[in-house]
Symmetry: C2
Subunit: 338 residues, 2 copies
């Protein structure tokens, strides 16, 4: 049962995403409109693909974080709308290129854009969304924000290359893996929080603290994703359970298991990561190895640690509904099932 | 005989690229160093691919134009170096993605980056170069320049999509084709000239006039390229003569011939554009049809017209060696054989 469809029905302590969004629903609706307005182009294919990609769901967690951060820092202007579009376009462009590089056919349970429109169009529309986000930022006129997005975008590209280089390598170290996760997920979420704080003219200490919060919940989000890839219920998850395993994506549970596994198990993991087509039996065996060594629980514990660090970084802020919203989002990331 | 190897040996009036570059050789050498310095990354594959791509030649015509424009407008600072890197990175990123989209195996006579390192790495390193150019611009601190590059980058992406949509379509109109050429080539060269003028704090009229110069020589450059693709000497050209034809790329000579060809010739052109593998005989027949209708000469005449318009846009500037350099570059674009 997905929580967002049945708010309030979860067990005690469960966090409901919808109720976190609710106080920001006005801004979030404006962001949706702006996302659609800005991908207009005289070149017909561009709005089609952008519309397909942007219309296919997604929680818009980056815009939400940017908006909450700006409110927490007392910002009362309008720039959070277009800057939310900027971070969402950068994110969408990365998804488009990521799916091309991975050869993925599914994205959030639906046909991926590259499966539907082809790799060529996906590469080029990704470029368009990058360029458009740059144009929107330039229009906003704050060079510090341009710098913040530029750094995140460079980290995203480096993270993608790191992932490509380490695909199928069962011996990927935890250090390299966590660096990849930071670049691919942590850096842009960090930027969202920093942008909100910059808009609100927060002092350097607060900008940094919110950035640390963003980086850490970004890490937690991806590590939970890694665990859910093996443990989720397929109808909710929107892609085949074990997709990372089948694509030779070495993630934290597998890294943790591999390092302590016996020779036979290691050989099996290596073979599976290098193989083009693993079977359902292979996946079941991999899961049983990971369970044997508590690798899934270990990964979730690490995600929880990042979440705790995230919340600790907010210690200097006075109580407010916005602060509560950030804390609830951190909890949601750990408790979500989809 | 290539002119750059034998300066001064050309027939009367021939323009030598090397002698145009010569007064700017100091800046151009600094640009080369900066190109190499800025693609440093902790992610090992990135400098490899960037170095391969950037080291494989190219005339650096965009940096040269940016530098000349800045000097013409009296700029005496240092920002032209990093901004030259910005436009060259944007250009290189586009080449990387372009080669992936086209499935090209050759670039400037050597193996293309995607052929050597794979499409996946080419997509991601292109993204890195885009991101890095954004970081460099943000460091420069001039929002008008960010806007200028953003607009050009968006046009580049739109031009690529337009080209993709019209590949293999023999009925592409001249209007759509010229719009594609503007976006793919004219817009970034226009931006180079404008950036130079913005650095030199030129007035709006001069910024616009230099922009028009850039746009028009960009158009002329591509239209000459289209003609040379059919008429060049292969050893100089660096790729197979007739490559556009074989890839189903509909360019101006073919558009001009198609519109006036008889029914049988049109059917042949349509078939050839849609075909996956055309023969040497097909290419010869296409060339003879284009010659019959003077389509190559017509394209070159149009290129010449763009060049004349470019030079006319400089009428308001006082005589100077920098002005002469721009005029010589316009002539070079028309007279070059490679």
């Amino acid at each position: 049962m997905t929580k967002s469809l049945h708010p309030g029905t979860g067990s005690a302590g469960r966090v409901d995403y919808k109720s976190i969004v609710e106080p920001y629903a006005g801004d979030m609706a404006r962001v949706e409109d702006a996302i659609r307005a800005h991908f207009h182009s005289n070149v017909a294919l561009i709005p089609n693909i952008s519309g397909y990609l942007m219309g296919s769901g997604g929680k818009r967690i980056r815009p939400l974080l940017l908006i909450i951060s700006s409110r927490l820092c007392g910002y009362a202007g309008d720039m959070q709308i277009d800057l939310s579009v900027v971070v969402e376009y950068v994110h969408a462009a990365t998804l488009l290129h990521d799916d091309v590089v991975d050869g993925s056919n599914l994205r959030r349970g639906a046909e991926s854009a590259n499966a539907r429109y082809g790799n060529q169009a996906s590469v080029l529309v990704g470029d368009f969304l990058f360029a458009k986000s740059l144009e929107l930022m330039a229009g906003g006129g704050d060079m510090r924000i341009v710098e913040t997005v530029a750094r995140a975008t460079r980290n995203l590209a480096e993270g993608e290359v790191l992932q490509l280089v380490n695909t199928c390598n069962a011996g990927t170290t935890e250090e390299i893996y966590l660096d990849t996760v930071y670049r691919k997920t942590g850096a842009l979420i960090q930027a969202c929080l920093e942008i909100g704080a910059i808009l609100g003219k927060a002092d350097e200490e607060r900008i940094a603290a919110l950035g640390v919060f963003g980086r850490n919940i970004g890490m937690a989000f991806q590590l939970m994703d890694d665990a859910l890839d093996y443990t989720a219920v397929e109808e909710q998850w929107g892609k085949p359970v074990g997709a990372d395993f089948q694509e030779g994506k070495v993630t934290l549970p597998l890294i943790r298991a591999y390092i302590v596994a016996n020779a036979e198990e290691r050989a099996f993991i290596e073979r599976s990561m290098e193989s083009e087509d693993t079977t359902a039996e292979d996946l079941a065996r991999a899961i049983s190895i990971m369970e044997k060594y508590g690798a899934m629980e270990g990964s979730i514990a690490t995600a929880r640690k990042y979440c705790d660090d995230a919340k600790a970084s907010l210690a200097g802020f006075s109580p407010s509904p916005h602060l509560d919203a950030l804390r609830s989002l951190a909890d949601y990331i750990i408790e979500r099932q989809v």
